[in-house]
């Protein structure tokens, strides 16, 4: 018997339980798909999804004081990490509520009965008339959430990369699963996939260069190496640059934003909600951790980079959104602009900036889910009605829906007494605390321009006479209503009484390394 050359790593399974729950639920979901009959799958998948997400959230809450590096330093479960995971799980629960909606579309849910069927073929029609439903999306969704949780807590560049892929690969498929407008949906999936794979190649090469520089992929080792020795300019600059490109792509920052409008427009609304809310939160979580922990030693270099990107992103998103005629595209450009505002917080490299960014993400995440819940509701027989002029007169026909949408628009336009106002205030304040007045001025100008197109939506809904054939919002089932109510409530409450949440975020402290 040879001596053992390695010792078993010590792994605290209790601390990792949230990951295990969600990941295992995904695997069980696939097994369910394999063995359970067509009609039995959906209830089981729903139980699995909601059970695992709520269970993981519960375990997270119970575990909230168990902080530390787990799995040999590959995963950092620290205050911000727990906050991000909790936020992702909450957003995922809301998204799951949207995904389980079956009342809006007369044919069933928002997803194609079989994504591989030819659009418009007899095959597809037959599947629809026979009332087939596709339930594979649930395990895909859970895998993606699993990847997100891993992504925001990765403390090792390899885990970061793998988590990124676990998060993204299911998303590429989910983007192509819209029941209506199949061609657009497929195109969105193709573009998302090609560009996503392209960007992860960049990210990976950046990881390789940083590995070459420091001899490790651990964040802490890289941080020490960057702090210790100068020199090796090419490896550091190249590594930081390519790594940033990969992360900024997921955030949708200019000039890596090009996929955002196309993919948001083509994907089914619940999936778009998932991408716009949860993916953005996740990508910012990872960006913050990488920048603050691993690359903290060279922050003098990436700070100006983020200033420029943030400025470009805010201005570009706001300006182009003005020229949009499609609701989903407009929200996509708006989400680009919002990413710019959050980048202001990231670029400060202070704890204050971290808190401000997290608060902004909380506010933005819930608002976005609400927006897409409503976009899914405004529809006719052919699917969602996303042309802006089709929304005319919604205020008359479905006042309650229009008022909630108005609240979300006001929040994004950062009007006072909505979450968006406090969020923007905190972000600007954090930038001022490091004397970055210039970026704040750009931000204020961009938010003024942005307010214009948000308010235009409100005007269209309430003041424009409805055109022929523009229907009221369809009546959703309780799940969508619940998701909508929660997001609207959070949007208002965070605007009026943000203090408890701000306290919670501040108590979370900073990243562990």
């Amino acid at each position: 018997m040879n001596p053992e050359v390695m010792t078993a790593p010590s792994i605290d399974y209790i601390a990792l339980l949230p990951y295990i729950i969600v990941g295992a639920a995904g695997v069980i979901g696939v097994i369910v798909e394999a063995f359970v009959g067509r009609n039995g799958r959906r209830p089981i998948q729903l139980v699995l999804a909601f059970g695992s997400l709520i269970g993981a959230f519960g375990v997270l809450v119970v575990n909230r004081t168990t902080l530390g590096l787990q799995a040999e330093g590959a995963i950092a479960i620290d205050g911000p990490g727990i906050l991000f995971m909790g936020l992702i799980l909450l957003l995922a629960i809301l998204v799951a509520l949207l995904m389980s909606e079956r009342q809006l579309d007369p044919a069933g849910d928002a997803f194609a009965p079989r994504a591989s069927a030819l659009p418009g073929s007899d095959d597809e029609r037959e599947l629809t008339t026979r009332g087939y439903f596709q339930t594979e999306i649930w395990p895909l969704f859970l895998f993606s959430v699993f990847g997100m949780m891993l992504f925001v807590t990765a403390s090792n560049l390899l885990v970061l990369f793998i988590a990124l892929e676990i998060m993204s690969l299911p998303l590429y498929l989910m983007a192509g699963m819209s029941r209506r407008r199949r061609l657009l949906s497929q195109e969105a999936a193709l573009k998302y996939f090609i560009l996503g794979a392209f960007s992860s190649a960049f990210l990976l090469f950046g990881i390789a260069l940083l590995y070459g520089y420091s001899g490790s992929v651990e964040f802490s080792v890289i941080a020490d190496a960057l702090a210790a020795e100068p020199g090796q300019t090419a490896l550091v600059v190249g590594g930081v640059a390519l790594l940033s490109v990969g992360l900024l792509f997921k955030i949708g920052a200019v000039p890596f934003h090009a996929w955002v409008p196309d993919v948001y427009q083509g994907s089914p609304a619940p999936v778009t909600a998932f991408m716009a809310a949860a993916v953005k939160v996740t990508a910012f979580g990872a960006l913050l951790r990488v920048m603050y922990v691993a690359l903290g030693g060279v922050r003098w270099e990436w700070e100006p980079l983020l200033w420029i990107i943030a400025g470009l992103t805010m201005l570009f998103g706001s300006v182009v959104a003005i020229a949009q005629t499609d609701m989903k595209r407009m929200i996509a450009y708006s989400s680009i602009a919002q990413a710019g505002f959050i980048l202001i917080g990231v670029s400060t490299a202070t704890a204050e900036g971290l808190y401000a960014s997290i608060f902004y993400l909380v506010a933005y995440g819930f608002t976005t889910i609400g927006i897409f819940a409503i976009i899914a509701m405004v529809r006719d027989a052919g699917g969602e009605m996303t042309r802006l002029d089709q929304w005319a007169g919604l205020g008359k026909r479905s006042p309650l829906v229009a008022v909630s949408f108005g609240i979300f628009m006001f929040a994004l336009a950062s009007f006072p007494l909505t979450s968006g106002f406090i969020a923007k205030f905190l972000v600007f304040e954090s930038a001022l605390a490091v004397d970055n007045l210039g970026l704040v001025i750009v931000g204020v100008i961009a938010s003024v321009m942005a307010a214009f197109f948000y308010i235009r939506v409100v005007v269209i809904m309430f003041f424009r006479e409805p055109v022929e054939g523009s229907p009221a919002a369809a009546v959703p089932s309780a799940t969508t209503t619940l998701a909508l109510a929660v997001s609207a409530a959070v949007t208002v409450i965070l605007g009026v009484l943000p203090e408890p949440v701000i306290n919670l975020i501040e108590q979370a402290g900073v990243f562990l390394r």
């Binding site: 000039p255 090009a258 003041f463």
Partner: protein
């Protein structure tokens, strides 16, 4: 970088008493805002169910607020002069890193007078709207918006810090936008709402930057702490803050160069013009400047700029008022001019603050009176707004005519009408400060006399010029009663505030006061001012008196009279006031082409830029990839440059 980020705090300057906690009746201060807010919520959320009784609810909430405001002022009078400021913290609103902004209200002498103006005039205008909007299918929504406005405006004046003030500031802007565009089916109304919104956003940029700057300079945004520390901040910072606040005031109060939206805002229903665009919201800029007086005290440059902006707007508004034939637009020009007066007074420093507020109050009353009178005329004329189609209305609209005359005499400053006292005080203060400013004030008073007389003659005197099928009639009591109350107000407010209310010593704890000796006796100055006003009045009478031809015309009496009237105007224009017209046309040109052009041009520029930039999104995945590669190269270059020593 402006400001040093250092937190300078010192224990209260002598004029700044710490706020007493709200007790007794003041503990219900929040009700002032909550009442109209509740009304707005019920009306806007309740939907059609509230159509029938909704408008009455709207009137009720504001009236209750007005009654409560009176209770408050009586209680405040019962306190010793130095303790007349109470604060009430509702809850901790923003709390981050040792920096707190409570959602706290503050009722002091300055806020109190504003609360009175807003609630009482607001209540009267609500009542009036019951009649004016009677036939509008959407009047429930109208009252909801009006209530929303009242709530936001009260929040604006009751806030005890800049951030909460900003909430109110945005709120009134929103309500104003909704109300200007209330008749959205008119494209002009939609365009006007948009214009007002865009121009106000420019001002809002000023306010948000000012708040940022205040925060990094003082480390707080609460009025008390900021003002206590204002004396120790360096002057250039104060100047910047002052100028940014002035920019905000210019946007909201329609001051040069952001004044153009106010004329277009007249597209809104007339009660809106009276309440928001004459009496209350447009004076928020003056409030902001006066409230921030400790900041302006430290910066002579910003104060001088305030005076200059005030003077320019004062003349610009007066000249526009003289040239417009639309009765509401003419009044809007007048509003602009009168606010110019107030801004100028505020720019005089401690000499003028009190009188700026004094004039603001009297103006709020008599301008609401004039606008509601104009609304009554428009209502009686079935929506006609051209003064050239009016004439001789005094015989058919007696109450409107009499009340309008009260407002008229008040605005041109005939003793003992209210405008006399306030305007004279401003002119007096201006002479104390600088003789040129004084002369400007007197001249503007003269022009006021001219355009107001013109308006009155064209509307109420002369021969009727309205078409045969128009049947002008007096409005219902629900409209005339507020008119009568405001008419009486126009007569007595000035004297009452000055002698009975003792406004100078009332406001003194907030604004401070200062007297300088004057070379000429007060009575002489008053005489000169009155004389100039009367000259303006006489020119107007001379120009517009001879509307009816002297010689009996041949042929069709009506046609010739109409033609002659036009002829008359043409001669007048050519001979008497050609220069004035050139000037006013010029100013309108500047107004509409250059300044509007800039605002709309920049809006169009942004839109056009957006339309061009979206072409970048070609739909080809490979071009997106190329963009990414370009971006990656950019990132590399930036990082490399940042690494260079």
């Amino acid at each position: 970088m402006i400001g040093n980020g250092a937190v300078v705090l010192s224990e209260g300057a002598p004029s700044l008493e710490p706020l007493a906690a709200a007790t007794g009746v003041f503990a219900y201060l929040w009700l002032l805002i909550a009442l109209p807010l509740l009304g707005a919520a019920v009306l806007l959320v309740g939907g059609r169910r509230t159509n029938r009784w909704g408008p009455y609810l709207g009137v009720l909430t504001v009236s209750l607020a007005a009654v409560f405001a009176i209770v408050l002022v009586v209680s405040l009078l019962g306190l010793p002069a130095d303790d007349r400021a109470v604060g009430q913290t509702l809850f901790e609103w923003v709390f981050v890193g040792g920096f707190t902004v409570p959602a706290a209200l503050q009722l002091d002498q300055l806020s109190m007078v504003f609360v009175l103006l807003i609630t009482i005039v607001g209540a009267l205008i609500h009542v009036y709207s019951l009649g004016y909007m009677e036939d509008d299918p959407d009047r429930r929504k109208f009252f909801g918006f009006l209530n929303l406005f009242i709530a936001a405006m009260l929040l604006l004046v009751l806030a005890d810090n800049y951030l909460l003030l900003y909430v109110g500031w945005e709120g009134v802007g929103l309500a104003s936008y909704l109300l200007i565009g209330f008749w959205q089916f008119k494209p002009s109304a939609a365009a006007a709402a948009k214009k007002a919104f865009i121009m106000n956003r420019v001002g809002d940029v000023g306010l948000s930057l000012a708040i940022m700057l205040i925060f990094i300079t003082f480390g707080t945004v609460t009025f008390d702490s900021v003002f206590a520390a204002a004396g120790e901040a360096n002057e250039s910072t104060l100047t910047w803050i002052g100028l940014l606040l002035l920019l905000a005031a210019c946007g909201k109060s329609a001051q040069f160069p952001l004044q153009a939206w106010l004329l277009d805002a007249m597209e809104g229903p007339t009660p809106v013009s009276a309440l928001i665009h004459a009496a209350t919201m447009v004076t928020a800029g003056v409030y902001l400047i006066v409230r921030s007086n400790p900041i302006y005290d430290g910066t002579a440059f910003a104060l001088t700029t305030v005076v200059i902006i005030g003077i320019i707007t004062m003349f610009l508004g007066a000249i526009i008022g003289s040239a417009k034939d639309d009765i509401k637009k003419s009044l809007a020009g007048s509003t602009m001019s009168q606010i110019g007066y107030m801004v100028m007074a505020a720019g005089l420093g401690p000499i003028g603050y009190v009188f700026a507020i004094f004039h603001l109050l009297t103006h709020g009353v008599f301008k609401a009176n004039l606008f509601l009178g104009a609304g009554s005329v428009i209502h009686g004329m079935h929506g006609e707004q051209e003064m050239r189609r009016y004439g001789a209305l005094r015989s058919v609209m007696v109450i409107t005519w009499i009340t309008f005359m009260c407002g008229y005499l008040a605005i041109i400053g005939i003793p003992p009408f209210s405008g006399f006292f306030s305007k004279d005080d401003i002119i007096h203060a201006a002479f104390e400060q600088n003789i040129i400013i004084g002369i400007c004030g007197v001249l503007a008073a003269g022009i006021t006399g001219f355009y107001m007389t013109r308006m009155v003659i064209m509307t109420f005197f002369g021969k009727p010029r309205w078409p045969d099928d128009a049947h002008p009639h007096e409005s219902k009591p629900v409209m005339t009663i507020p008119l009568i109350i405001l008419g009486i107000g126009s007569v007595v407010t000035g004297a009452a505030l000055l002698y009975w209310g003792n406004i100078e010593s009332w406001l003194e704890p907030v604004t401070g006061i200062e007297e300088k000796p004057l070379a000429i006796p007060t009575i002489v100055l008053e005489g000169i001012t009155l004389l100039i006003v009367l000259i303006g009045v006489s020119i107007a009478i001379a120009r517009y008196r001879r509307e009816v031809p002297v010689l009996a015309p041949k042929g069709n009496l009506l046609t010739v009279a109409a033609r002659n009237s036009l002829y008359d105007d043409a001669i007048n224009e050519a001979l008497v006031v050609k220069p004035t017209y050139v000037l006013s046309d010029g100013s309108i040109f500047v107004d509409e082409r250059i300044i509007d052009g800039t605002v709309e041009g920049s809006a169009r520029l942004v839109g056009g830029l957006g339309a061009r930039l979206r072409r970048l999104q070609s739909g080809f995945a490979r071009s997106y990839a190329l963009l990414m590669v370009g971006g990656a190269v950019m990132v590399l270059v930036i990082l490399y440059l940042a690494r260079l020593p």
